[in-house]
């Protein structure tokens, strides 16, 4: 039986050039389906990765209870002081905690790609603001000087938005600021931010004695339990304390889920179109090979090899489409930089990320199209009356 299957499959595949344009149309249709799907999935994966890499599990973040994002949160100075005395925090030689009370504001920026206004995050950070985060490196210029109208900007923000080049003066709200440094943050969401000295930001934006979040470096991930218990046990706090990792996971899930929920239905709608194309191609294939199929059946070949041969042809065309779609998606989208609105209503710059797992999903969808598109024509090939087939 295997010999029969191999022989019929070989004959089928060798005859594809006779149906070149029709076969090519199926390959292209399936390829487009996969490319569209992977563009969405890689966007979601890139966004998720950017936010996921932003959070550490040994950094805690405190927000107002019920606040889902930094921009909605408010913390008073008294609460900041209480948190500084909390257990489980890393402390320096003087016993001061490695922590940063921060203000998170929205300012305007101009997108390079569309020349449209977009919300950018301006973060006022304490003197330990960089130390509390991992992987922060000044790659150009220097850190802002305390008490000055200076800012440092993230690498991604510089790439996507105009006017933040080193040395430039930018107007944010009512004040002028000088860009004195560019920083990297291991591709995390912080690279989409503008950082300035907290007291200056509080003063210029009339937010004296008000903070929005507090970040604290923990002695280890397990210390979070102590910190949460401390927070819950003091009625003056009653904040929401979680690991930075969990915070960003929550932030990423809504947007990445939305992207995926857009991507899959669109890809499936397109897949239905590709399926019609595949069915048409394979029915034409069976029709054009009817004499060959009937001749083989007359010689003594069974119906099953005709079934398998047709199905393999369909799967092969779909697989070629899937691989080409994935290849083009990779060439076009992998590493492609884009920005979108994050949960704090500010732009998050991220890179599309096409992982092997996503490519697998794309090719699996292509094979499903090939399988369904080939199934009915394969059954027709297997059941075709020999006499009718010999008449062509």
């Amino acid at each position: 039986m295997l010999r029969q299957v191999l022989a019929v499959t070989r004959i089928n595949l060798a005859s594809i050039p006779q149906r070149f344009w029709l076969s090519l149309s199926t390959v292209v249709a399936v390829g487009l389906v996969v490319m569209v799907l992977l563009s969405f999935l890689s966007m979601a994966a890139g966004f998720r990765r950017t936010l996921a890499s932003s959070g550490a599990d040994d950094v805690a973040i405190a927000l107002r209870a019920g606040a889902r994002a930094e921009v909605n949160s408010v913390i008073g100075r008294d609460q900041v002081r209480l948190l500084e005395d909390a257990p489980g925090l890393v402390r320096d030689a003087q016993g001061k905690p490695v922590s940063s009370a921060e203000l998170y504001l929205v300012v305007d920026g101009i997108k390079r790609s569309s020349q449209t206004k977009a919300n950018l995050p301006l973060r006022g950070i304490g003197e330990q603001g960089a130390a509390v985060r991992q992987g922060i490196r000044i790659t150009g210029g220097r850190m802002f000087a305390p008490g000055s109208n200076e800012v440092v900007v993230g690498k991604s923000l510089l790439r996507e938005f105009e006017g933040f080049e080193l040395g430039r003066t930018v107007r944010l709200a009512s004040g002028n600021w000088t860009v004195v440094g560019i920083f990297e943050a291991d591709g995390s969401v912080f690279e989409s931010e503008i950082w300035a000295d907290l007291p200056v930001v509080q003063s210029l934006f009339n937010r004296n004695n008000v903070f929005q979040t507090m970040r604290m470096r923990l002695t280890g991930p397990d210390a979070l339990t102590q910190l949460v218990a401390y927070n819950d046990g003091d009625p003056r706090l009653k904040l929401e304390v979680k690991s930075e990792k969990d915070y960003f996971a929550d932030q990423s899930s809504e947007t990445s889920d939305l992207i995926q929920k857009l991507g899959w239905p669109l890809a499936i709608a397109m897949a239905l179109g590709a399926l019609a194309g595949a069915l048409n191609t394979m029915y034409s294939s069976v029709a054009s090979r009817s004499v060959e199929i009937a001749t083989l059946r007359a010689i003594g070949f069974g119906g099953f090899p005709a079934f398998v041969g047709t199905l393999v042809e369909s799967l092969l065309l779909a697989a070629i489409g899937g691989v080409l779609g994935a290849l083009f998606a990779w060439l076009i989208f992998d590493g492609f930089s884009a920005s979108t609105l994050g949960a704090s209503f500010t732009q998050v710059v991220f890179s599309f990320r096409l992982t092997p797992g996503l490519i697998g999903q794309g090719i699996a969808l292509a094979l499903v199209v090939g399988l369904i598109g080939g199934l009915l024509p394969a059954i027709r090939a297997a059941r075709m009356p020999i006499v009718q087939g010999l008449q062509g």
Partner: protein, 231 residues
């Protein structure tokens, strides 16, 4: 030629429905063809010559009656059993050769052997023998498009005989050939019958072709008239 019938039809009826009309091709047809015979079947278009060949080859079924070929009641076999039976007992030669255009002559001839248990070396040997019988050993690696009609039909004959079936069923084997090529093919069929004892049933419109057979059956209105031709 043996007296034992290799082919026996008993009370075979066959018809089809065209629109609202039921058309009868055969009505209780009887036929016996002994092993080693070479029978030409002639008759007007629509007389059922090809249908007869299809019934004998097990690619069509009678409405009623028995079809016994090479010891098997083939009208009672399942589709799967019929496929295996055809592979073992029948060689088909078609008017338009029905070669696989993407396969070489040798690969085309090898096809029936893929249904056997023969190994690669044995299959190659059988293919060489069959191609030698039809005088095409030197064209083994040629594709059908590189050969004339007569050569393609010789490849088809090699494919029909390569697994050594008892019965060759030839449907207008010279219908697409010029006279010279047709005579060559008919001479080859005659030699296969005479020298290798192959039983041949050949449908033809051509009286000249029919003269190569041992006898001719004229099929008309569902009945045979027999005429002995050659010794």
């Amino acid at each position: 030629m043996s007296d034992l019938p290799l082919v026996r039809l008993a009370g075979v009826s066959k018809g089809f429905v065209k629109g609202k009309d039921a058309i009868t091709i055969f009505d209780k047809l009887d036929l016996a063809i002994p092993a080693g015979d070479f029978v030409a079947v002639m008759g007007p278009s629509g007389s059922g010559k090809s249908t007869l060949l299809n019934l004998l080859g097990g690619i069509d079924r009678p409405d009623t009656g028995e079809v016994q070929v090479a010891g098997s009641r083939i009208d009672a076999l399942s589709e799967g059993e019929l496929s295996a039976w055809r592979a073992a007992h029948i060689g088909f030669v078609f008017q338009f050769y029905n070669l696989m255009p993407m396969l070489t002559a040798a690969q085309n001839v090898e096809l029936p052997l893929l249904l056997t248990r023969l190994g690669k070396a044995d299959r190659r040997r059988h293919v060489e023998t069959a191609l030698t019988i039809v005088n095409l050993a030197d064209r083994a690696k040629h594709y059908p498009r590189e050969m004339s009609g007569g050569q393609q039909q010789r490849v088809a004959i090699a494919r029909a005989i390569v697994s050594d079936p008892e019965l060759l069923l030839c449907d207008e084997p010279t219908g697409d050939l010029d006279r010279t090529s047709a005579d060559e093919i008919l001479g080859m069929l005659k030699a296969l019958n005479r020298d290798l004892g192959k039983t041949i049933v050949m449908v033809t419109h051509d009286p000249a072709a029919a003269r190569y057979a041992r006898r001719t059956l004229h099929l008309d209105k569902g009945h045979f008239e027999e005429k002995e031709l050659a010794a």
